[in-house]
């Protein structure tokens, strides 16, 4: 089985080669020189990060954001988290705020019309990666990473426009 850290390093390199711009994220362990994208829960009135959601890797290409969650093994909690972020306007707004706070787009000279990403989920791609098993979700891009390489699976709900980005 490939570790989460190995999946993290591998996908960072492979997606970069395919023209995806790394915006931010958080490594499974330790520190990396990129902004941590932490979506704050707007309903949390107390101090601290209770209820916040962090995304493992965020990339940008052709106007689309790729929101990628990684695990050594398939974990439904990743699917649930990304569904919540992408389907709920509150979380989409929190995502844009997080990018803005950390100057994540500015750092890469990317400018977007924020409202397009808050009012609609069409430009947010949900993706999960793990080391063994099969793809399970129609509206997800799935990376199966083993020691021999990376297999990319598009769910039946993924459009041709998006497929061409990979």
């Amino acid at each position: 089985m490939v570790s989460e850290t190995e999946i993290y390093l591998k996908l960072k390199k492979e997606l970069h080669k395919k023209g995806w711009i790394l915006i931010g994220g958080e490594p499974p362990d330790g520190t990396n020189s990129m902004p941590r994208i932490e979506l704050k829960d707007s309903s949390n009135i107390s101090k601290g990060s209770k209820g916040s959601k962090k995304i493992d890797l965020v990339f940008f290409k052709g106007g689309f954001f790729l929101l990628l969650e990684l695990k050594e093994e398939y974990d439904y909690s990743d699917v649930k988290k990304l569904n919540e972020i992408v389907q709920d306007e509150k979380w989409r707004k929190a995502f844009i705020i997080a990018l803005k706070e950390k100057k994540a787009l500015e750092l890469k000279n990317i400018s977007i019309d924020q409202q397009n990403y808050i009012h609609s989920n069409n430009l947010l791609i949900k993706a999960i990666a793990y080391s063994e098993g099969t793809a399970k979700h129609d509206d997800f891009v799935t990376f199966i990473v083993d020691k021999f390489g990376t297999n990319l699976h598009f769910g039946s709900g993924i459009s041709e426009n998006i497929k061409q980005l990979f």
């Binding site: 850290t5 190995e6 993290y8 390093l9 490594p27 499974p28 362990d29 330790g30 520190t31 990396n32 020189s33 990129m34 902004p35 941590r36 932490e38 704050k40 949390n44 009135i45 101090k47 601290g48 990060s49 997080a98 706070e101 950390k102 100057k103 750092l107």
Partner: protein
């Protein structure tokens, strides 16, 4: 020259390798659990694991911690034990972190490094006669961390010079400059908040004979080590742990070391103290404490029994010298 970069996380190993062309052929190796590494690595991770351990021709040259967290609040204690261990075994340490950065969220504000960290580190560096550097991860005008690679400029220069000086830290001019910057930062933080030059609210410096009298009144007679009586003052650190949340190591195992090196220690041994160090845990009884935090040598919580002179709990006292003596007898 055989160079090995031991790392806690692979991306940190890769980051370190890219700091110098001298590391071109270096091997990146993972720091494994204690007991599964070469002896020199196991010794260094006895309390806790640094991010990077640099080994050249079989000798450890330095250890390093990299974090984007500003050392303030709990973050100060969380990483301190690994710095202490490095000093104890005379390995230079680099702590690469922001001196100031923006904290986001509802209460967004600038967050400054805790000045007590500098004082504790300066004292520790003198006591163990080893270089311990706190290097600033620079930020932009809005206090956001720089992540363009420019943040590594100073550390790259340092590594280059260390190779030129054969890793003799005392001969490096860059290190003198870094130490000057640390001192400037310490003074600036204290000028901003003078309370950082004094103990925090959780720490009191009290009269030892009064403490002994109060403890005897409360808990009856107990065996007091001679050294404890000799020190006129005691640093009394109160930990607000409850019975429900008392099974924890961070930040307390590290914070006690910050206070130890700030107000107690005079030499490299635990017994070299001008003040006693006592942990006060008033909400937790002895039975609950010992079941939640047994003295396990392979866990960081063993520092509760090896660092302070005593722990005062809700219904009793643990004198750590008595534990050490029992362990010696068992050995």
């Amino acid at each position: 020259m055989k160079i090995q970069i031991y790392c806690d996380a692979l991306q940190e190993g890769e980051w370190f390798k890219n700091l110098s062309p001298n590391f071109k052929d270096a091997d990146i190796l993972s720091i494994k659990d204690r007991g599964k590494n070469p002896r020199i690595i196991d010794e260094l991770i006895e309390y806790d694991r640094p991010d990077i351990i640099l080994v050249i021709d079989g000798k450890v040259k330095l250890a390093l911690e990299k974090t984007e967290e500003v050392p303030t609040g709990h973050n100060v204690g969380q990483r301190f034990a690994r710095i202490v261990k490095s000093a104890e075994v005379s390995i230079p340490f680099i702590y690469f972190c922001p001196f100031v950065a923006m904290k986001h969220g509802k209460y967004a504000n600038r967050c400054f490094i805790n000045a007590r960290l500098f004082t504790a580190i300066q004292n520790m560096s003198k006591i163990h006669n080893v270089s311990i550097l706190v290097m600033n991860w620079v930020t932009d005008a809005d206090y956001e961390l720089i992540r363009t690679g420019e943040e590594d400029r100073e550390i790259k220069l340092l590594i280059k010079e260390l190779f030129n000086k054969n890793f003799q830290f005392e001969k490096s001019e860059i290190i003198n400059d870094l130490q000057r910057k640390m001192e400037e930062e310490r003074k600036a933080r204290i000028a901003m908040h003078s309370s950082y030059d004094e103990p925090p609210n959780t720490v009191k410096i009290i009269d030892t004979s009064n403490l002994i009298r109060d403890l005897k009144e409360k808990f009856g007679n107990f065996k007091i080590p001679k050294l404890f009586i000799k020190n006129k003052e005691t640093v009394f650190y109160t930990l607000g742990m409850t019975p429900e949340n008392c099974r924890r190591e961070d930040p307390f195992t590290g914070m006690q070391l910050v206070y130890d090196y700030y107000w107690c220690r005079t030499g490299p041994k635990i017994t070299d103290r001008k003040r006693n160090l006592v942990l006060n845990i008033p909400l937790v009884d002895k039975k609950r404490w010992l079941s939640a935090n047994p003295n396990e040598p392979h866990k960081k919580r063993h520092l509760y029994y090896t660092i302070p002179d005593a722990l005062v709990l809700k219904d009793g006292i643990i004198v750590t010298e008595n534990i050490k003596n029992q362990q010696k007898k068992l050995i």
